[in-house]
Structure formats: structure tokens, C-alpha cells
């Protein structure tokens, strides 16, 4: 049978193990061998400080009393962690960039490094956490009691208060030893975190072991267990929607608002990527922790005698089955849960108390000497932290003595959750809303906290506690509307949901309303922008105007907080970066910003700001400074926009130049080819003229008259061809230069087409091509140069005669009127013009092949195009008509005009 002394011995050796683990971890860390100390696994396990003795023991009791509702305490954090992309990621990033040391520091830094807010949040945290620490002490002492009463040889239980005192003192010693080794909260407490990770493993193993024992050892396997669960009185409990939703929400809030959770989640976070692992690993941990809660509760209710405290089924069930080893393991699990919570909470609270209450007080007291007087402040800070730890534990102990361990465990836990959740509006508002102001935060926090105290915390002491029974029943002075548990006539709600509803809603409304109505100080706006937009600018906007401080004063002050070596290294680096030698850099705003951030890692944002402010001698930043920064940014933006516009303009000009150059090159090539073409065209007839005239010269009188006639005819024809070519050239050149005179006269399209067909000899069949017309449409009046227009028509008809390669060539002339314009299409049934040549047929000398080309210089279509341009129309190639097709577009005159 396990004796009290044996149990104490187990406890002590476990504590000794924790000391050794913490010591080894610190040694490794100080030797620079971080390795697994900074692994995501350790981070995740350290998060499980969420699972206190309240959840370790209390969850089973909770399940025995109200069924499944206990899971809400785990589901809330699960939602928060799987939704880490929303809030936690931003929180951790801000914690890193701003070197946040606690939740009070976060709120205070966000709202313009206000110390008042730091004090408020610190006090709230202390008030909200003290009962929770008392709860842990109580659970340890009660678990001793369970051992004493359940074992067969029950031993005399020593004084519970003495047990609690010993536990509190031991925890204070551990926390002081490993929690205040260094000043910089951002340097992390590796020893503590590693010990806590170990404790998490013990918790999990203990609870799982008890669970496995209960299901397979007592319950008889899964199916038998399922039957027992169905038959258990727990199955009759129903969901209370208000509590279900409210508890999920409040426990989700707790994971960021509880000081100890903030400590492990944000302050002790070594790497943002660890959060990504924790996002699934921590919910998994919670899942495993609650997996066997219902079976243990069911078996406990079934096997334990009536009147057994269901909160300690985890211990009493194995004990009553004679499994003392298992019970001892469970006891260690509960002990771990209690101690890890107390240690982390004490560290978090002591940091807050020393940074937001002790340091500002000291600064005020020593204001005469100024912050620059010599002497080491570090000892002061560390000492204040050690005293704070002892003080926090003492408070917890006294609370424990005061309440006498009377209440159900779960109740205190939820009351505490609701209290710390009051920072939620200010916290979330500060993270996501730049309009949140300090005044709003202060009013919201105070209001929410007062309502919490009035409706939940004070009534929790019972009718004979701080509030008397008549006040609880009838309200103050008999005003029913102000009854603590039925505020504003809202009766019938569960007291917890009632308090949660009123405190959080009025807190939020006050926070938003006051924030909307005021105008924040420059420092608040600066910090607000940095918090809300933490992912956008990684470098901070500067909070200090050009300083008048002496570098030496700043160095003296920094040495006292950071220690001589670190401070000198910081100053030396800064000087080096500015290109100077020695330890005294120029006091630029950027340097002051860096220095302040370093200091705030040790003493909190508000204190660091105030200390630098004392040396600089004036408040840091004014509205004008902020606006100047904004102006500078705007100017930069404008400048860069202008540059962009200029560069766009330049590239546009370059493109135009390139295009012009290409056109010029093309023109030059065209000119060259024009010259070579024209020489060729002129040379061919010239050659034959010269040859035949030489024959005539040489032949003299020997030639027959027939030959004479023949040769002179050839010469004549070639000369005509030459003349025609030159005429065409002249024509084209005249038209291109715009010197042509257009002789406008009335006419009719019908007559013009008639004339053109007659001129090409197609009427009497000499033209070898059949012409199909639609005379019905041709009757259109024209006001145009009829000679020029018929020249175009003749050209097109001649082309068809020449180039249509169909066996039975025919040409369709189709006329259509479209508004003020008429289109005349000339479509033959030949093979048409290949696509690649369609662009060039209107160019000079564009002859597609030499076939049938006698007497043509390739100028016809070029001339046609010029003529049509002069006449206000156009000529284009019309693809897709089953042959070569040209469309002539020309303006139509109205009849009255044509009749004149």
C-alpha cells in the first residue's frame, strides 16, 4: 500500500527530475546547442500548459455532471489553432517585430505605449489568474486526500494548508531559479519550456493509461464500453445551446488572452514556422487528452460509491481496483498539470508586474536623477520579478486559504476564463482595426471587467461571501434590474452565459463607440499602423524625431538594462553601420527606434519608451512628424509614378522611332526596286526598237517591203508601248503628288459600265470573257469624274480578260448600294489571287507572274487605287469569292444633284 511518505518521495523525485531537465536545457542553450530545444515539438508540447489540473481532473468531473459539454473547452482552442492563419500568425509576427513581453505589453504597445493600459491589463490578469493558481494548489492537496481516503490502510492526512504551502513554495523556487535567469523575455526560458514539455508528455501518458485501463481493464473492450455509455446517467444530459456556444467562444478567446498561453504561444515562440506544426499537433494533443474522458466518467459513476467527488475519478477508479502504480502515474499527471500552469503563469504575471507596475514606479521615484544615472537596473528588474513571482504564488495561496477549497474545480476555471477574455475586444480590435484608440480600450476593459466582477466573480463566493444574499436575490437597494445574475431583466440565463454575454458585449460596444468618437495621439496612430499592417511593412516607421540626446547618456542607460557587454556591442554595431569608429553612434531616429526595441524586450514597450523619453527630454513624435512621413511617402510615390510615366513615354517614342525607321527602310527598298523595275520595263521595248532599227539600217534596200513593214510595225508598237508606260508613270506620279485635275460631271453607273465593257471589246465577243451583270441595280446617279472612273472599270475588266484562267471565263459585275456609297464588285471565276499576294497587288509594278503580261507594266491597279482615292472612294481586293474579286466603293449622288 502506498504511504503518504512514499507519495511525497515520488513527488520529490519527479520535481528533482524536472530541475535536472531544466538545468540541462539551460546549459545546452547557454552553450549555443539549441537543436531540439527549438523544435516545433517542444513548442507544441509547451502549449499544452493550457491543460491544467482543472482539465486533467476536472474534465472527468465535468463530463460526469453535464455530459459532453466538457469538450467545448477543447474545441475552442482547436478552432483557434486550425484557424491560425487569421489571428495567431499575426499575433506571433507582431510579438516578434515589436519584441512583446506579455499580453499587457501588447495592449499597451498597440495603444501608443500607454502605461495606464499596461497597469489595467496587469491588474486584470493578476485578479483573473490568482483564483486559477489557487485552483491548482487545491487540486494537488485534494489529490493527496483521495489517496488517503481510498487506500485500504488510510493514513492520517496532514494539514491541507501545509501541503499547499509546501507546493507553492517549491513552485516559487523553481520559477525563480529558471524563470528569471535573464532579463530579456525574448531570449526565452529554455529550461522552463523544456521542463514543461516533459510535464506535458507525463500528463498525456498518465491520462491515456488510465483511459486504456478503464476501457479494456474494467469496461471490457469497446463494444461493452459503448453499451455502458448508453446506459449511463450521463447519456441523459442534454446540450444547453447557450453554454455550448458561449464556452466554445470563451475557450477560443482564452488561448490568446490567458497570460500563460500568451507567454508560451507568442513570447516563447522561437520560429514562426512552429506555429504551422502546432496548428494540427496541438489540437491532436487536446483530442488525445479528452478521448477517454467520457469512459472514465461513465465507469467512475458506475463503480464508485455515491458521494465520491467525480473530479477525482482519474485517481479513485484505479485506486479502487488496486492499481496503485497507475494511480501514482495519474497523480503525477495531475501534479504536472498543476505545476506547469503555475510556473508559466507566475513567469507571465511577474514579467507584467515588474514591467508595468514596478519599473514605472521606480522611474517616477528616480525621476530627479533621470534614467541616465549610473548603477545597474537589471538587478532591480530581476529582483522585482522574483518578488512578483513569490507575490503571485502567495496571493494564490491566500486565495486558497480564503475559499477553503469549497468549490467545484470547473467553476473557478470558467470564471477565470471569462475574466481574462475581457481583453479580447481591445486585442482583436488593435490587431485588425486602425481606428481603435487608447481611450476606447481603457473604457472597454474597465467596463467589461467591472461587469465580470459584479455578475460573476463576486457572486461566485456564494451568498455569504462578499455579496450578501439579499443583494444577490433582489439587487442593490432592491433594484431588480441590477440584480447581479439577472442584469437588465435578463433572467433565466445560465449565470456564466449571462455574465459572458453582458460583459463582452458592453465591453465591445464601449470600445468601439469611444474609439469612434475620439482622435488618437500620434504615437497611437503610429503603433496602430505598425500592428495592423505588420505584414506589409517589415521595417517600422520611425517613432522619434531627430533627437537631441547625447549618445553617451543613452549608452549609460542601456548598459544598466542590457548589461555592459550587450549594450556596448549594440552601440558599437550601430556606429560601425554609420561608418564610425568607437561606441558612440550618431543619434538618428532609426537608431533610437532600434534601441527602444531592444530595451522593450527587457522592460516592456511603455517603460522603454518612457526611459528614452526622459533622456531625449520631449515627447517622441508629433502629428506634424507623422504627416511629414506621410508626405514623404506620398512624394516618393508621386516621383516614382512620374518616373514610370516618363519611362512609358520614352518607350512609346522609341517604338514610334523604330516603326518610322522600318517604314523608311521599306520605302528605300521599294524605291530601289521601283528604279530597277522601271529600267527593266523601259529597256525591253528599247531593246527591240534598237534591234529592229539596226536591222533596218543594215538591211537598207535589200529588204523586202513585207519585212520592212513588219519591222517598222514592231518598232512602232514598241514605241507605243513605251509611250503608254511613260504615260502611265506620268499619270501615277501626277496623281500621287495630288496635281491631277478632277473633272466632276453627272453620270450614271449603268452608262459607265456599258462604256467600259464596250471599250474592252467584250460586247461583241472579242474579249473572250462572258460578262454577267445585274442591270436592275446599276441605275445609280453619280457625280464624279466619269472618264477616270471608266478608266478604273476598263482596267479591272481588262485584268479579268488577261488573267482569268478558267476554261469558260466569266466576269460578274455586281452593284449594291449601301447608304451614300455604292459598291461595284468585279468577280471572275478564275483561280484568284493567293493570300500572300493580296497585299501587294496595288503596289507599283506588282505583277504576279509574267504570264499573259505583254503590254502591262503592273501599274494599272496602282493607278486605279490613286484614282479611287481622288474620287472619294476606294478599291480593295475582296477575298473569298471563288475567283479574283475587286470591290470598288464610290459615293453616289442624289438624283436631284445628278439631274443638274
Amino acid at each position: 500500500m502506498i504511504s503518504f511518505n512514499a507519495l511525497v518521495a515520488v513527488c520529490l523525485s519527479y520535481v528533482a527530475l524536472l530541475f535536472i531537465v531544466a538545468f540541462v536545457a539551460e546549459r545546452r542553450a547557454s552553450a549555443g546547442k539549441f537543436g531540439w530545444l527549438r523544435s516545433p515539438l517542444i513548442y507544441t508540447l509547451s502549449l499544452s500548459v493550457y491543460c491544467t489540473a482543472w482539465t486533467f481532473y476536472g474534465a472527468v468531473g465535468y463530463a460526469a455532471r453535464s455530459g459532453l459539454e466538457f469538450v467545448t473547452i477543447y474545441l475552442g482552442p482547436t478552432l483557434m489553432l486550425i484557424g491560425w492563419w487569421w489571428v495567431l500568425r499575426k499575433l506571433v509576427r507582431i510579438g516578434k517585430t515589436q519584441r512583446i513581453t506579455s499580453i499587457a505589453d501588447l495592449i499597451s504597445s498597440r495603444y501608443g505605449k500607454s502605461n495606464a493600459l499596461g497597469v489595467i491589463v496587469t491588474l486584470m490578469a493578476v485578479i483573473g489568474t490568482t483564483p486559477y493558481i489557487a485552483l491548482q494548489l487545491q487540486s494537488v492537496t485534494l489529490s493527496f486526500a483521495v489517496f488517503s481516503s481510498t487506500t485500504a490502510h488510510s493514513w492520517e492526512l496532514p494539514d491541507q494548508n501545509a501541503t499547499a504551502l509546501w507546493v507553492a513554495a517549491g513552485l516559487a523556487l523553481f520559477t525563480v531559479l529558471f524563470g528569471t535567469r535573464n532579463l530579456d523575455a525574448n531570449e526565452r526560458h529554455h529550461g522552463v519550456v523544456t521542463a514543461i514539455a516533459l510535464e506535458s508528455v507525463v500528463k498525456l501518458v498518465a491520462l491515456l493509461s488510465v483511459g486504456v485501463f478503464v476501457v479494456w481493464g474494467i469496461g471490457g473492450g469497446l463494444t461493452a464500453m459503448a453499451d455502458q455509455i448508453a446506459a449511463s446517467p450521463i447519456a441523459e444530459s442534454t446540450f444547453q445551446p447557450g453554454r455550448w456556444i458561449g464556452l466554445t467562444a470563451i475557450s477560443a478567446a482564452a488561448i490568446i488572452a490567458l497570460p500563460r498561453m500568451f507567454q508560451v504561444l507568442v513570447v516563447e515562440n522561437a520560429d514562426e514556422h512552429h506555429l504551422s506544426t502546432a496548428s494540427w499537433a496541438f489540437p491532436l494533443y487536446l483530442f488525445l487528452m479528452s478521448l477517454f474522458v467520457v469512459p472514465i466518467a461513465v465507469i467512475g459513476l458506475a463503480t464508485q460509491p455515491a458521494g465520491t467527488n467525480p473530479d477525482f475519478f482519474v485517481l479513485s477508479v484505479p485506486l479502487s481496483h488496486g492499481r496503485e502504480g497507475l494511480a501514482t502515474l495519474a497523480f503525477l499527471g495531475g501534479f504536472s498539470s498543476a505545476t506547469s500552469m503555475v510556473i508559466v503563469a507566475a513567469i507571465a504575471l511577474s514579467t507584467m508586474v515588474s514591467n508595468h507596475i514596478v519599473m514605472p514606479l521606480w522611474l517616477n521615484l528616480s525621476a530627479r536623477g533621470g534614467a541616465s544615472m549610473s548603477g545597474d537596473v537589471r538587478n532591480l528588474v530581476l529582483r522585482s520579478r522574483r518578488f512578483s513571482i513569490a507575490g503571485v504564488l502567495a496571493l494564490g495561496y491566500f486565495y486558497f486559504r480564503l475559499t477553503g477549497g469549497s468549490e467545484a474545480l470547473a467553476k473557478i476555471g470558467l470564471i477565470s476564463f471569462t475574466g481574462v477574455a475581457q481583453v479580447l475586444p481591445a486585442l482583436l480590435g488593435g490587431l485588425f482595426w486602425r481606428g481603435a484608440t487608447k481611450r476606447g480600450a481603457v473604457v472597454g476593459l474597465l467596463l467589461g471587467f467591472s461587469i465580470w466582477a459584479y455578475t460573476l466573480f463576486l457572486p461566485s463566493f456564494g451568498p455569504d461571501g462578499i455579496m450578501n444574499a439579499s443583494l444577490l436575490a433582489d439587487g442593490p437597494y432592491g433594484i431588480g434590474w441590477l440584480r447581479p445574475e439577472g442584469l437588465f431583466g435578463v433572467d433565466g440565463l445560465d449565470p456564466l452565459v449571462h455574465a459572458m454575454f453582458w460583459s463582452l458585449s458592453l465591453n465591445s460596444f464601449a470600445f468601439f463607440a469611444i474609439s469612434l468618437s475620439g482622435f488618437p495621439t500620434p504615437m497611437e496612430r503610429l503603433q496602430g499602423a505598425q500592428f495592423v499592417n505588420v505584414f506589409e511593412h517589415s521595417t517600422a516607421a520611425r517613432g522619434w524625431a531627430q533627437g537631441t540626446a547625447e549618445a553617451e547618456d543613452l549608452l549609460i542607460m542601456s548598459q544598466r538594462i542590457l548589461g555592459p557587454e550587450e549594450a556596448q556591442a549594440l552601440f558599437h554595431n550601430a556606429a560601425e553601420n554609420q561608418g564610425q569608429k568607437g561606441y558612440l553612434p550618431d543619434i538618428t531616429p532609426a537608431f533610437m527606434e532600434t534601441l527602444e526595441r531592444e530595451l522593450s524586450g527587457s522592460v516592456g514597450g511603455a517603460t522603454a519608451h518612457a526611459m528614452i523619453g526622459q533622456i531625449v527630454g520631449r515627447s517622441s513624435v508629433s502629428v506634424e512628424d507623422l504627416l511629414a512621413v506621410a508626405d514623404e511617402t506620398a512624394q516618393m510615390l508621386e516621383y516614382s509614378n512620374q518616373l514610370e510615366a516618363k519611362s512609358e513615354e520614352l518607350s512609346r517614342t522609341a517604338r514610334q522611332l523604330r516603326e518610322a525607321n522600318e517604314k523608311l527602310t521599306a520605302l528605300s527598298i521599294q524605291k530601289d526596286s521601283f528604279l530597277s523595275q522601271i529600267s527593266h520595263e523601259l529597256r525591253t521595248p528599247m531593246t527591240s526598237i534598237r534591234a529592229f532599227s539596226e536591222i533596218l539600217m543594215d538591211g537598207g534596200n535589200d529588204m523586202s517591203p513585207e519585212d520592212l513593214t513588219k519591222y517598222s510595225t514592231i518598232i512602232h508598237e514598241e514605241a507605243i508601248r513605251l509611250t503608254r508606260l511613260l504615260d502611265d508613270l506620268l499619270d501615277l506620279s501626277v496623281m500621287e503628288n495630288g496635281q491631277v485635275t478632277i473633272n466632276i460631271q453627272p453620270g450614271s453607273l449603268n452608262a459607265l459600265i456599258e462604256r467600259a465593257i464596250a471599250a474592252t471589246g467584250s460586247l461583241d465577243g472579242r474579249g473572250k470573257i462572258r460578262i454577267l451583270r445585274d442591270r436592275g441595280n446599276e441605275d445609280l446617279p453619280l457625280m464624279t469624274d466619269t472618264d477616270r472612273l471608266s478608266q478604273v472599270f476598263i482596267n479591272l475588266i481588262t485584268n479579268a480578260q488577261k488573267y482569268c484562267d478558267a476554261a469558260d471565263p466569266e466576269l460578274r459585275i455586281r452593284v449594291r448600294r449601301a447608304g451614300a456609297m455604292a459598291t461595284v464588285d468585279f468577280i471572275d471565276n478564275g483561280s484568284g489571287i493567293p493570300k500572300k499576294s493580296q497585299n501587294i497587288i496595288f503596289e507599283k509594278f506588282a505583277r504576279l507572274s509574267d504570264r499573259n503580261s505583254a503590254g502591262s507594266a503592273g501599274l494599272g491597279l496602282a493607278i486605279c487605287r490613286e484614282i479611287m482615292a481622288r474620287l472619294g472612294g476606294d478599291i480593295t481586293y475582296l477575298p473569298g469569292q471563288g475567283g479574283a474579286a475587286f470591290r470598288v466603293t464610290l459615293p453616289v449622288a442624289d438624283r436631284a444633284q445628278a439631274a443638274q
Binding site: V71, L75, A226, A235
Partner: protein, 102 residues
């Protein structure tokens, strides 16, 4: 003066990175919705068995953890992708069907 604007269209990789982030944001909302389901079942008056509710809640919990596990790796990669890709101008809608765009 226009502010430096975010790109209108993204290449496939960045597009997927954004969607992974959306999924990560949606997951807790979905989880909350499903966690409130037992309240609706109860509202019809018919009591459900405790065992059934246990299996539902713990099954849902396990699925959420699995989903968070699957997302966490992708999220880290997606974050790195977006951070590394934010320096060079993001490619315009290239080579993909229109539904590849934001």
C-alpha cells in the same frame, strides 16, 4: 496618384498559393459550423444517443486535425512562394484557361 496596386491576375503557382490560404481561413468556420450541429439535432426534441454524439464529435475533431495537418505543409510552401514571387512582377494570365485567374 494611384497606390501600388496588387496584381490582377496570377500565374498558376501563386493562384494556388492564395487558394490554400483561403482554405486555411475557411477551415475554422467550417469546423465551428459542424460543431454546432448537435444543437440542431437536439432541437427536434428527439434525444440522440450519447455514443452517437461522441462518435460524431470526435470524428469531426479528427477530420479537422487531419485537414489542418494537410494544410499546414502547403501553407508554409505557399507563403514562401508568394514571398519569393512578390519581387518580380507577377506574370500575366499566361498559358492557362481563363478559370486560372483570380
Amino acid at each position: 496618384m494611384k497606390p501600388p496596386s496588387r496584381p490582377l491576375f496570377l500565374a498558376r503557382q501563386n493562384y494556388h498559393a492564395r487558394r490554400v490560404m483561403d482554405a486555411a481561413r475557411l477551415l475554422p468556420v467550417l469546423g465551428l459550423f459542424l460543431m454546432l450541429m448537435p444543437l440542431l439535432w437536439q432541437s427536434d426534441g428527439g434525444a440522440r444517443s450519447l455514443g452517437g454524439q461522441l462518435v460524431y464529435l470526435f470524428g469531426l475533431w479528427a477530420l479537422l486535425i487531419l485537414a489542418a495537418y494537410l494544410l499546414s505543409g502547403r501553407l508554409s510552401r505557399a507563403d514562401d512562394d508568394l514571398n519569393s514571387a512578390s519581387k518580380p512582377a507577377p506574370t500575366e494570365f499566361n498559358h492557362e484557361a481563363p478559370d486560372d485567374q483570380l
